[in-house]
Symmetry: C2
């Protein structure tokens, strides 16, 4: 395909563009049939498949002026790969649907695909299929499949007496979003964390093998996700703010925007940290921090009291 550098989707047409996109997607050995047929065919070794799906909408989950196409690709893959991580599974295969305006540059789509593929390569997963069609705004629909070799870790297994533990950056993306929302571009570390999350991909299986009783990834906000664990498990969860070291960039942003930096940690999502419960502090693996405890009851408290700050993302 020889297109000018400013070509749009309307110039390229669906089929020519798909063949360009697919070049970015190497296929793993488990992929018997990759993109290009009615369906992909995957070899499954474990007898179980985990599957999750997520939508990202331009203007709501990302802005093209706040993040590069590559960043958006990384994020779209990361938030899905993280869901498999949160089950204690290993992501193997993804599909990606892209609905986009006809005037979207082809270059944006190819850069998105390259970023998406780079993120998938971090965990050895293949992009095995997709769809491309026209819409008024960019909508990205990703489905991820994975393998679980033992029992998956659900949200519902937390028990009174368990400890609550966290691994991965938390609050950085929310801090970066606050910065971008005010028209700034620094602290750069936070902006980069928002644009391109770095989920702790190895930690899900480590947590599962260490005996995590429940696990979830923090996409909508730490307290919101703790609430999901509490609801699904029928327990109460208390988060201890003293357990967190507030990173310096969050202190700086808090001072700049007049916010308690702890609000980014407690209310922020999008970093895709992992939150899990373990039966005893000694079971908590290296790299995880104990940040709270599970008790009989219901709901989530912070330092023993109800929390009245922002607790997460509302989809409508």
């Amino acid at each position: 395909m020889a297109l000018p550098s400013d070509a749009t989707l309307a110039d390229a047409g669906e089929f020519g563009l798909i063949s360009e996109i697919v070049r970015h997607f190497p296929q793993g050995e488990h992929v018997l049939v990759g993109p290009g047929d009615d369906a992909a065919v995957l070899r499954v070794r474990t007898g179980h498949v985990v599957v999750s799906t997520d939508l990202m909408v331009e203007g709501r989950h990302f802005r093209r002026d706040w993040a590069s196409a590559s960043d958006v690709g990384h994020r779209a893959a990361a938030q899905n790969l993280s869901d498999i991580n949160a089950m204690g599974g290993q992501a193997t295969s993804l599909t990606v649907g892209l609905a986009a305006p006809a005037d979207l540059p082809v270059a944006w789509v190819l850069e998105f695909a390259a970023g998406f593929a780079e993120e998938c390569a971090l965990v050895g997963a293949s992009v095995v299929g997709g769809d491309l069609t026209r819409a008024d705004q960019v909508v990205i629909a990703v489905t991820v499949l994975g393998a679980v070799t033992e029992s998956p870790v659900l949200r519902s297994g937390a028990r009174p007496g368990d400890v609550l533990a966290l691994t991965g950056r938390q609050g950085w993306a929310a801090g970066g979003l606050a910065v971008l929302g005010r028209g700034f571009r620094s602290p750069r570390a936070l902006v980069e964390a928002y644009r391109r999350p770095a989920p702790p991909y190895a930690a899900g299986r480590v947590g599962a093998e260490a005996g995590a009783t429940s696990m979830i990834d923090v996409s909508d906000g730490l307290l919101a996700e703790a609430g999901h664990l509490a609801d699904a498990s029928g327990v109460a969860i208390n988060v201890t703010t003293g357990a967190f070291e507030v990173p310096e960039p969050l202190v700086a942003v808090g001072a700049a925007v007049g916010a308690d930096p702890m609000s980014f940690i407690l209310g922020g999502g999008d970093d895709h940290a992992l939150l899990a419960t373990f039966p005893h502090p000694s079971a908590v693996p290296d790299g995880w921090s104990v940040i709270g405890a599970v008790a009989e009851g219901e709901g989530v408290t912070v330092d023993g009291a109800p929390y009245d700050g922002p607790t997460g993302w509302t989809h409508f």
Copy 2:
């Protein structure tokens, strides 16, 4: 959830609505973990999984004034189930992502979900997960997983000397779309065929067991799909118009709109008929009609000559 009958998505909120939606989705025995966790967990018996994904965009693939929410649900499921059918597989599990304006009525979403579930029930497949978020227009993202018990039937296996065969209604949906596009509502059989396709779900496995050398479902247009088979297989395909009985409603619509009714059959998609090649006429199963032949060469001809009518759907 007690909402007024004219409640919108903004009134309902994401989590309350999801619990209402999920009630429409019974879970099969192969579903170890259904909707509500980070990912669904499925038992896989055959060692292989087939997976396909499709997007449907309001105003492009459907109009809410031309089809009920239930119809849109049936179609969204059908076009994905059909992709598994076209591999000779058995669909087992689907995810559905819905991006929608905040003012979309809750009733539309629930009726969509019910129609989607009804179509899945026709083949015994379960809706195991999904996502719901806000967008400017309705975008539906479906991914379907299935099992293949033997080698899947690809697009690439057609050989010179094979016969081309078709099963299922073909051209009806295109006729119905032509009717709706002119502001009419009859012939009702065609309009209904457009609103709610009836793919020949049992035929994919029958075709595979009968030794189909290649197979595809007709979603973009018969000649376009024949072209995909020819390209992937490195062969030429000729379609014989005399092999078709033109159904009476298509004759009527052709006369009404001044079109050759054969153009609906050759160019129309959306019925999700199955198109396949078999090594010999005697291998073609009951319910399939021989409509052409495979030869050495490339491309698609109609009655031995190039065809200059519409040959399918352009996505951009």
